[in-house]
Structure formats: structure tokens, C-alpha cells
Subunit: 360 residues, 2 copies
Amino acid sequence: MEAGINFFPDVHHRDKAADRYFAECLELVELADGLGYHHIRIVEHYFHQYGGYSPNPIVFLAAAAARSRNLRLITGAVLPAFNHPLKLAGEIGMLDAISGGRLEVGFARAFLPHEFQRFGVDMDTSRARFDEGVDAVRRLLTEEDAAFDGRFHSFPSTTSLPRPTQRPHPPLWVAALSSEQSFRRAGELGCGVMANPLAADTLRTYLEIYRTAWQAAGHPGRGRVMLAFHMHCAPDRRTAEARAEEPVNAYLRSLAAAASDWTSGASSADYPGYRQMIEKLAADDFHSVRARSAALVGTPDDVVDRLWEVHDRCGGFEVASLQVNFSTLDPVLAAESVALFGERALPRLRAERGPGPRAA
Amino acid sequence: MEAGINFFPDVHHRDKAADRYFAECLELVELADGLGYHHIRIVEHYFHQYGGYSPNPIVFLAAAAARSRNLRLITGAVLPAFNHPLKLAGEIGMLDAISGGRLEVGFARAFLPHEFQRFGVDMDTSRARFDEGVDAVRRLLTEEDAAFDGRFHSFPSTTSLPRPTQRPHPPLWVAALSSEQSFRRAGELGCGVMANPLAADTLRTYLEIYRTAWQAAGHPGRGRVMLAFHMHCAPDRRTAEARAEEPVNAYLRSLAAAASDWTSGASSADYPGYRQMIEKLAADDFHSVRARSAALVGTPDDVVDRLWEVHDRCGGFEVASLQVNFSTLDPVLAAESVALFGERALPRLRAERGPGPRAA
């Protein structure tokens, strides 16, 4: 199993200015690069404490590329709904070049009504925009002289520049939250799937759907699964818990606030069951997310044990993406946790199992 | 006078892969930062050898910010015609933060028909899109809870994030090529003006229009003028000439090719006189651009003398932006030229005159 770092800014601009936030992140990038972490990853969100410091993940990842040598740089994710495919393909080519071929591109549908509203994009077109956007970007990356005639974007014969450094293009990922259709689609597309720790049985079912679709579409191997976790470790469990509890709760409150449109009237045929899902998320706290292993808090060994437990219960996953500097957590403690996990946990994660899943 | 570096990629993707191109640029960034250059700058262009490696200048500048400490980072320029203002304002906030407040934002109208065609944007809306885009982005940077109702883009009350590190926003520039209206507009807006060395009398006239408009609009001071040059220096003049001639010519050929739509039928009421201007540019060569000081080639002292000559003839300008690694020029020679100019020319440029223009 590989482990990397997921930067998900959830700080309010009156609490922490963005220059300080990004300076802290870039210190963690250097630290993580030296310790052998697999990747860094950052979201695309807008206009709200929840993620809004990162309206273009590619901008931060370009700075991170210049501060690192080995880390993979993962968009987690870019949103075709709010980006022109010609622009997005060009930025992907630039970052793949600037990083010397270390980019991986995650795509997502977006799910926050306030973002759709401000961009003037109908949420009921979300899935269609996603499918078309991924298709258009992939064609622009793969082919020269690509023409495209879509419902939302069309262009005559075009060679996107720069051509990608990785051929035919950087590895692609698709974010899947809680619908069978999303997991199936990721498999059909031959993309890795970025998911969250759901109840173990549910996750296992969805990952089986993903892998079945992957194989049915004729892609080699069994696909690639990334799961996202909050993570905080310290030399002893009590200390880790005491440090992480309130920052995890603050993160959960900012997610609930950003998604509150869902529980106050938003609805879309493209998002069946979202209101109920957001209601459940809004009821989460430190204890409930820990109970389902969405937050991993304890000693490095505690965290590794829990990661393998999730791994075995869901049928295996390849990459853990760890949120380490969430919300109000003291950046010094976040750096200590990243260092400790790098020194104590990463070697265990690498050494203990071969590639692929272990029978549960 | 301050001098910085303008990266204008004009390499074909079959001649030089983008990872190599950007690695060379980032080496020059470190070199320039250590030598006290004022800025680095990069364009937004698409789909063609002429500029197409840089479809989003903010992506490269983010990497450059991470490789430098003091350089100003200037978009030269971003194009409102092809960018959503919500996206652009967010990226500006990110880069201003990542660079610790070193960003300056240049806007331009775009002028290449093949770019408008592929984005499906009518060239006759160019000026209106530019005006609206600059207005929308400036409001998003300056105000929280900004609502906007435009011809091309509208959004309800929105707080763009991250809020800019520089308050109320990074310094703004407007590119002006060859119309009185563009220079006047830059002055009215209170933005710096990015221009090219035109015939001396013409440039003096336009800059007077700019400064008059600046003062009439009640802005303090006299504005800020940046001129762009090709520059190559070597310890002796003959060597500099021998090295620069063919790369300058190659650059001019790629400009002519990218703009060839203008001489084969494109026309737009938003671009009066463009066909004739492009025809003139297409007839340029090393000798003609040198004659009008658009290319500065010689010893460091030659280049400084010529910069002051342009300065005095046009009524003064504040910033020289130097294209140093153009087209086929050997990157080792480009680095030598940047080092030599930094050591020999920058101290003279800084020491010889006070701020402001000298009477011609």
C-alpha cells in the first residue's frame, strides 16, 4: 500500500490568510518528499471555507512540483463542469511537463449546489458534463488534430499543447462517492477510482462493481483504488486523540455548512439520494468518523493496523490519501504527525504485504 | 529602470518537449532571482508553436514562485476572452498567496484568430469581453459578496477565494499593441501598460495618451510602462549578433505563422488595421527589429545604451521585459546572456538615472 497526503483547505479566510496556509502546505510537501510519501493531492472547490482556497488544484500542484522531486501530484479532483476542456487539457500538459511526468489527474462531478449556482451550471447536467469533459480532455491529451462536437463544448481540429510528458497521458482517476453508477463508470473508463471509507460491506460491494466493470471493459489488471482518510498520529494514542478531535469536528462542520443547500431544498435527478447522504454527513462527529475508519487517529502502529483492516474488509486498495493539516490543527503538530507517520508507518505499509489484496 | 525576463515559448513540440523547455526556464528563474532581476513574465497562448506551451501563465508562475524569493511574477498576459472570471480571480488569489504577494496581473484582449475559433468566441466581442472580464475580476478581487450581471458572465453575490495577499489586489497591467484606444483605456483603468517598441514617435504619442488618460481619471502618479524586447548579450558584439540572428528570425517566422489568418481573410471590427499590422510584422527580420530596438543584441553596454535611448525617445518607461531564451537559441547561451546582463547591465540600469523620465 502507498500513502500520500491530501491537502483539503478548510480554513476561513478571517482565521488564516492563504499565504500562510500555502506556506505551511509547501513545508509539508518538502517533508513528505524526503520521507517517501507517494503523492500530494488537492481539491477544486470555490467560495467557501470548505475547500475554497483551491479553485484550481493545478496551480498549487505546480508550486509543489517545484518543491519536490519524487512525489506524484494528483488533482483530487478537477471538475469538468466548471472548466473548458481546451483549458484543462492545456494545464494538464503544462503541469505534467513542469513536474517531469509526475502528474495524475483525478476528475469529479462536483456536488456543492452553491458552486453550480455561481457558475450558472444546471446540476441536472452534472453527469453529462462530467462524461463529456473527461472524454474531451482525454482525446485532447491522446490525439493531435482532435476535433470534438459535444453538447456543452465543441472545437474544430486542435492539437492541445503542451503534449503530455507521460504517454499517452498521465494516469487518470475518477472520484466516486456513493453511487454504483459512479464506480461502474470509473471501471468502464479504465480510470483509477478515488473513494471514501464507507461502511465496509458497502465499500466492498462498490469496489467489486468497479473491478468487474474494469475487467468487462477489457482493461489489463484490476484497476487502482485510492481511499481518503483524516489521519493524525502521535507517540501515544491519548495525545493523538486530544489533538485531533476538535479539528476533525471543525472540518465536519465546514463540510456540513458548504453542503447545507442539500438539506434546505436543493435537488437534482443527477444526484439521487444526496439529501439523505448529506444529512448523514452533517450528523457525523469525531467518534462516528473514527468508528468507520474515515479518521485514523492514534500511534503510527494504530494507524497502520487500521489501514490494513480497512484494506482487508473492502477487498483491497492500493493508495491511502491522508488529510493531515485539517482545519484548526496546529501546523507544527501536523508536521510532527507527517514526520512520525513517514518514519514509522510508511516502512510497515510497504513491507508487510505484497501488491494486491489479501483474502479477508 | 527595472529589467525582468519574459518567457515566450516559441518552440515546436517536435523540436523540444515541454518538460525540457520548462526545466530550462526554471533554471533561468533561479539564476535571475539571484541576480536581482525585477520579474519573470509569461504569456497565455494556445495550440501553436507561437506561445502554445503556456495556455495558463499562472501554472508556470506558481512553479517559478516556488523556485524564487524576490522576483515579481507577471502574467503577460491572461486573456479574459477565454477564461471565466470566477476561475481567473480564484487562480490570481492562489498565486498571490503562494508567491507571498509577488504577483502582478497583466490582461490582454488576445489577437490570434485560431484561438478565438477553437474556443468558439466571436472576435467582434473581443473588446467587450476584455472590458467586462477585467471589471469582473477586479471586483471579485476587491470586494467580498460581489454580484455581477454582465453580457458574457453573471454571478450572484460571491466571495472569491483566496482573498488576495496584496490589498486591495495585485498590481494590474493592460497590454496595448497599436491602437490609441488601448493605451487610453489602460490609463483610464489605472493599470500599468505593457507595450512593444514601436517607431519612436508613435510610441511617444501613445504613451502621452496613456499618461493623459491616467491623470484625467484622477489616478496618482503617472502610471507605469513596460516595454518588451528580445535581448541577447555576449562579451563582444559580433558574437552576440552571430548567436541571436537566426533565433530571432525563427521567432518572427513563428509569429507570422500563428497570425497568418489575418493575412488570409480574418477581419474584425474590434481589430481595425490588424491585417496591415500583421503584414508588416510578417515582413520583419533580425535587421528590421534591431533597427527599431525591438531586439537588443550586443555587449551589455550596447544593450543598456539602447534601452536608455528608447527610454528618452518615448518619454520614459519603467520596466523592460526581456525575451532571453527565444526559439532555437541554445539554452546555455541564453543562461550566459542572462548572467552577463545581470552582472554588467542591471547595476548600470539601476544607478544611472533616478526614477521617472529624462528630458529627451
